[in-house]
Symmetry: C2
Subunit: 127 residues, 2 copies
């Protein structure tokens, strides 16, 4: 028995609209809905292969490494890192990881949520 | 500039294969890849609207409420709750939430990762 479909991946944060704009730029999508000027929930419009990302205002700060994170597939790791940093991301891992054919760096979004920029095997094999 | 595409939503866990099987049942998909008998990474086959879910073995346990969680859209909240519990989920919220047209309950997967069973506005409006 299937329980359901994915409605959204929801991300707790302090500033939903600002964080939504960062991730919209990462995936080339846009803010789809936000109620009012200081919204509790902000949804991004789903993009091909990207489900709805939902940003939810919460009072508590981030304290530990997230148990869930997004892996972002890119075609050029250095270019993607520079682009993400220009949008407000920071680098978490000093180096680059290579495992199971993947090559990746660990980054953090403007609220410190870890994510990986990933060169999948078919791309990493070219490097 | 778009940085990349979503490669996967990755979930830290103690037992990737067991947790992957739980989530495969939730979304009606299946384990796509796992290396060996005690794999570090297990990927689920993406389903319509569901990106690749990747389960990654980590040594550290879950300590606080996750900052990222999955919202699972269902058509019958009680039936979905019972079905998820039969698969090994537990209920986190004693009651049901109603906000912005959504109705939902907070659950936890077998490793304690919070997720919501969500009746979207078009369904909740019927109830």
């Amino acid at each position: 028995m299937t329980i359901g479909k994915l409605d959204a991946v929801t991300i707790d944060c302090a500033d939903p609209l600002a964080l939504a704009r960062f991730w919209a730029a990462v995936f080339g999508t846009e803010v789809a809905s936000a109620e009012g000027a200081g919204p509790t929930y902000v949804d991004l419009r789903p993009a091909p292969g990207v489900p709805t990302l939902r940003f939810q205002r919460v009072p508590e700060p981030k304290t530990v490494k997230n148990r869930l994170h997004l892996d972002v597939a890119v075609t050029d790791l250095e270019e993607a890192r520079a682009g993400a940093e220009a949008l407000g991301a920071t680098r978490v891992s000093p180096g680059t990881f290579d495992e199971f054919g993947y090559r990746w760096v660990v980054m953090a979004d403007p609220e410190g949520n870890e994510f990986c920029l990933v060169l999948p095997p078919e791309e990493a094999g070219d490097g």
